[in-house]
């Protein structure tokens, strides 16, 4: 990885997420724990509470991820997806819609390759492997929040964002595991 950084002439390193890694865990916990505490305090002894709690917790987890990893396109998109109108009142509703949207395409690989992009039309020499790569890239766009947006149309940017997203996901999983371990 240091080789990648040396080759480039840019001032900032190629993997900006390496800079934010140390503070990610602290930020994440700093956000999530109070949020979870608040959820517990907002107890309402209704039957649906379990399901709602799950969704709220999921919402808070994703929100913590988005807030702990500032400066990336995917975190920005995630924040907007969770908080489209800045106001946070209807947590349950938003989390429901957010989760519903995710579950649809999470586990399904697209059967048909999406309509040929401009690149495929122009360059007639693209082989089957390249078409397969395109397919995977479009699938990756669905996985990463904001991947289909205008910020990540470029493949290079998509790959950079992927790197930061993967590392932040790993950190998030570690934090969550440790929280559960402790309990």
């Amino acid at each position: 990885m240091e080789g990648c950084m040396k080759e480039r002439k840019r001032v900032y390193p190629m993997e900006p997420w390496k800079i934010m890694q140390p503070s990610f865990a602290a930020k994440y916990v700093g956000y999530l724990v109070p949020a979870l505490t608040n959820i517990g305090k907002r107890a309402s002894p209704s039957v649906d509470r379990c399901i709602d709690t799950e969704k709220i917790v999921r919402y808070e987890i994703d929100m913590a991820l988005a807030l702990s990893a500032e400066g990336f396109a995917w975190s920005h998109a995630l924040k907007h997806k969770l908080r489209p109108n800045v106001d946070n009142h209807n947590h349950a509703g938003k989390s429901q819609s957010y989760l519903a949207h995710d579950d649809d395409h999470r586990n399904t690989m697209p059967v048909n390759h999406e309509p040929a992009t401009k690149k495929l039309k122009v360059d007639t020499k693209r082989s089957e492997t390249e078409a397969a790569e395109e397919e995977r890239l479009t699938y990756l766009r669905k996985l990463i929040p904001g991947g289909s947006g205008e910020m990540m149309v470029d493949d290079e940017i998509l790959l950079i964002e992927l790197g930061s997203y993967v590392s932040c996901l790993e950190l998030q999983v570690n934090v969550l595991r440790s929280m559960l371990q402790f309990n």
């Binding site: 492997t129 996985l143 996901l169 559960l180």
Partner: protein, 382 residues
């Protein structure tokens, strides 16, 4: 000879200057080794290539030599103005009948130098976009040389070989493009010329080489540069995703990345469900101690960054640290968590900045057993 000059003049000089003049320069140099040039023709050539020299148009064009088109080459001289300086001398050696009273050769030389240098710079900046003109120029050149066409192609590699020795970067780039273009257009002597394309030196701006047998239009060049950047980033991603070292090929890598991202997202979902279940069933008091627990987290946070460490290695670490914390913590939970959480940030930053084990100094200020933490870090780094 006259018709050749006229056709040359009719060309679009702005576009063709570099291509034509370069080729002519190459051929002139070759010719200079076998002197055939005469003074009249030199003057005429000067007039033909530099339309500003209109005063010379009245000179005698009668003596038809095949070298007239090569004359402007000397002005280019691949940046080697020594060649150019020699030229008036050479001219003077020959034909003495006509007098260059209109424009002295030195002045012409100077003017030509400035003009060609500017031509070279402009051509350099827009070389990629002038392929169509070069095509046209090439065709015209072929038509103008007429009988000299075969000789044009034969002489070209040798002239190019001479130019290669000159070693001007600006010149080299244009030549390589012209050469590769020539090969694709004419499809003759392609192997020799294309192999020379690899010798082109790099310029200040991003320079993508035109490799053998590949097109040199701006689209494919940009495409190639883009593909190389993407492959570089894929390699960096390979370091991030565990178990990708053996996989070659973009599609396989992307598959692995997709699988990994999906698995991580599923883990997050599963863990969130567990936390929600925990949240609903247990009291919230233990929640306050989470930051304290996560204070030992910097080691765990670093682990994913290191390749090949599976998750299950975290469990013994966490258990040990949990034990340490529970045993040693005597302060009220809230303040302890705050103090430890803040310390953890500084420690994690330090430890990430340098991976040496000497970063454990701050631990001594903690309220915990430093030995316990030292062991944890040892395990984390192995």
């Amino acid at each position: 000879m006259l018709h050749r000059l006229e056709s040359l003049e009719s060309c679009n000089y702005n576009g063709m200057d570099v291509a034509v003049l370069e080729r002519q320069a190459a051929r002139l140099k070759w010719q200079q080794q076998n002197y055939v040039v005469q003074n009249n023709n030199l003057v005429e050539l000067c007039a033909s290539s530099m339309p500003q020299f209109q005063g010379l148009s009245g000179s005698n064009l009668g003596s038809g030599q095949m070298v007239q088109l090569k004359r402007p080459e000397v002005f280019l001289g691949s940046g080697d103005f020594q060649e150019f300086v020699n030229f008036p001398v050479a001219g003077a050696e020959f034909g003495d009948s006509e007098k260059l009273d209109l424009v002295p050769p030195e002045a012409a030389a100077d003017y030509c130098i400035s003009r060609t240098s500017s031509c070279q710079m402009t051509a350099l900046n827009t070389s990629v976009m002038k392929e169509e003109r070069e095509d046209m120029v090439l065709e015209k050149m072929e038509s103008t040389t007429g009988s000299g066409r075969e000789s044009f192609n034969k002489r070209k590699p040798e002239a190019v070989a001479d130019h290669k020795g000159k070693n001007k970067r600006i010149k080299g780039e244009g030549e390589s493009e012209v050469k590769t273009k020539c090969s694709t257009e004419i499809s003759r002597n392609s192997s020799k010329e294309n192999s020379k394309a690899s010798e082109v030196q790099k310029l200040d701006y991003i320079h993508v080489r035109a490799r053998r047998g590949q097109a040199t239009d701006s689209h494919s060049l940009a495409e190639r540069a883009r593909r190389e950047k993407i492959s570089m980033k894929m390699k960096c991603l390979q370091d991030l995703v565990p178990g990708c070292n053996k996989i070659t090929g973009k599609a396989g890598m992307l598959d692995e990345i997709i699988n990994y991202v999906q698995s991580l997202q599923r883990q997050v979902e599963f863990l969130s469900m567990k936390i929600a279940a925990l949240n609903s069933s247990v009291e919230n008091l233990p929640m306050k101690e989470f930051p304290a627990y996560v204070a030992n987290f910097p080691a765990a946070a670093k682990l994913p960054a290191m390749a090949g460490l599976p998750y299950f290695q975290l469990n013994p670490l966490q258990k040990e640290s949990v034990n340490c914390m529970l045993n040693e913590s005597m302060l009220p939970p809230q303040t302890a968590t705050e103090g430890i959480a803040s310390a953890s940030v500084s420690i994690s930053e330090q430890s990430l900045s340098s991976s040496s084990m000497t970063q454990l100094q701050p631990f001594s200020t903690w309220n915990m057993d430093p030995q316990c933490l030292y062991n944890m870090y040892n395990m984390g780094f192995h």
